[in-house]
């Protein structure tokens, strides 16, 4: 975050500057901040920013940090519903984690997550990147381009509950539209049982690909739009063909944007539960459960709070790694765009 005032101030913020800042020395305030009442400046420039940020941060502490700490605490205790209300849980160390990590249910859900990541998240990014580039490079009419973009991004704006219900309806085995369409096209000769044990995860993945391919598409598209035209002009003058331009210029320059799209989809994969709740409830026989879904299920429906917390912590750690990675890339991209 290179701010506009940074240039006016001593770089970095050495210890001496920080000390003066603590005392509220006017010389450390942004140079431009200079009202008619110098004494008021002391108070305003020192305390008002803190107060402005303080309230939102306080809210975040209450609704994010406190719950996380609560989860960490109970992951190490044998809490369940009854013990929670009698408040007589006791410390059990890492037992919950052991239960979780060695349970078959968790192992299965990790396999499901792997399938979901490969055929959901990865496919979405590849599809999205491809469609974005096709749209930008091959459709030259501006109006048409915008219309097509809106049409392709539309699914993303739907509430997940509607996406789930819609696809549950479309994939109804006996008289659903998808089965009927496939029959009419001659691709299958009997109905596919979409919500049977082997297929229900794939039903979720199909709905998710339909829903979220738009996100990487939009990310890559906006990345492509912001690439400097001068480079392409130069390539054209040098006689580079369409393929060469794509391989040597566009893709290398979009590397970070595509990485961001991947990370965003991976982060979402760890949180992803909406469609599981709506379309299959994890079933049949837990064949479409993802880790986050089990955490909810154990905690809120089955009241094994300690174990649910352990699930949540495992997910939290995976997400934290991805979030850190994401922010690192984001900083880089934002700086490259002179944006932050």
């Amino acid at each position: 975050m290179v701010d506009s005032t940074a240039a006016d101030e001593p770089a970095g913020g050495s210890l001496a500057v920080r000390r003066r800042l603590d005392r509220g020395d006017p010389s450390t305030f942004p140079e431009w901040f200079n009202t008619r009442k110098p004494r008021a400046n002391l108070i305003v420039a020192r305390w008002v920013p803190l107060a402005l940020v303080g309230l939102p941060v306080l809210v975040l502490f209450c609704i994010v940090v406190y719950p996380t700490v609560w989860m960490f605490y109970h992951a190490l205790h044998d809490t369940n519903m009854m013990r929670l209300f009698q408040s007589n849980w006791s410390f059990v160390g890492l037992e919950n984690f052991q239960t979780v990590l060695s349970s078959e249910r968790f192992g299965d859900s990790i396999v499901h997550l792997g399938i979901y990541l490969t055929f959901g998240a990865v496919l979405q990014v590849l599809l999205g990147a491809m469609l974005a580039l096709i749209l930008y490079e091959l459709v030259k009419n501006n109006f048409l381009r915008v219309v097509l973009l809106i049409a392709m991004v539309l699914p993303m704006m739907l509430p997940p509950s509607i996406v789930g219900v819609l696809w549950k309806f479309l994939l109804t085995p006996s008289n659903g539209a998808v089965n009927q369409a496939l029959l009419n096209l001659g691709l299958i000769d009997q109905h596919i049982e979409w919500f049977n044990a082997g297929m229900s995860l794939w039903a979720i993945i199909i709905a998710d690909v339909w829903n979220w391919t738009a996100l990487p598409l939009l990310i890559v598209y906006s990345g492509r739009v912001s690439l400097p035209p001068a480079v392409y002009e130069a390539a054209r003058v040098d006689g580079a063909g369409a393929w060469t331009t794509l391989r040597r210029i566009t893709l290398p320059m979009l590397k970070e944007v595509i990485a961001i799209a991947f990370i965003v989809r991976f982060m979402d994969a760890f949180k992803f539960v909406d469609l599981v709740f709506i379309m299959t409830s994890g079933g049949p026989a837990q064949s479409s459960e993802l880790p986050a879904y089990i955490a909810f299920q154990r905690g809120i429906r089955e009241f094994a709070i300690g174990e649910a917390a352990a699930y949540a912590i495992v997910i939290f750690i995976a997400s934290a790694v991805l979030i850190t990675l994401f922010l690192k890339y984001l900083k880089k991209v934002l700086k490259a765009q002179g944006f932050a």
Partner: protein, 279 residues
Amino acid sequence: MSKSNYGLVKLLFLTFMGLWLLITLFPFYWQIITALKSAAETNRTIPTFWPEVMHPENFIAVFAEASNFNALVDSFIIATGNTLASLFLGTLAGYAFARFPRQAGGENMAFWVLSNRMFPPVAVVLPMFFLFDATPWGTDSHITLIILYLVFNMPLATWLMMVFFRDAPRELEEAAYLDGYTPLRAFFKVTLPLVLPGMISVAMLCWIFAWNEYLFANLLVGSNVRTFTIVIPTFTHGSQSLWNLQMAFSLIAMLPPVILFILLRRYMVRGLSLGVVKG
């Protein structure tokens, strides 16, 4: 690569995109024609790809049950309340980050705020369940969701407002100070009008996310307060399946986010640079 070859490849890619468009739009088509069918027609063994008799009155029949209308009202109250709260808090923090970056905690603080948006809800919702249970209004109320949706909407509002405040020229504010304005007055008279268009777009974005939210609503509310997102999936309960009404209701409910999205296209792409679009 020869010229004709290139043309062929181009055609291939365009066909691919056309196919994807078809896949994208088919569910919408199906949703719309189902909403216009009669209940009997939706239950045929072989589905019809065009309604035999149009039943536009389905869209009104949805509201014969008062609970459906109430669900939209509940969603509206929650989305609007949360938008106002996010916008208020986001404007405060965004202004501080844009104008007093060092005093406000600097880059790390700003990125920490943003990181909350990507937080897995599973780490939040369980403790919240018990926390709100202990409050006088209980879990099952509007205020619960208004507060909880701040988890993903406030970081978004903060960051976008920060960007808008940075774009608003600081010199105007300086000039106002020299004219003897107090900082508060300068903010309201000079800076706020400049960022107002941006602020409205942020409000719309936040509103869409709060309107669409399913998970928190599903787990925390359900009897006094029912958002449409938890009413729609349970629409077919009982022996009767009413796909046509369900689709009609979902069409009505998804209209606001779709319209707002088309209005917001430009800002959407901008929000994307922050990787913050998903709720």
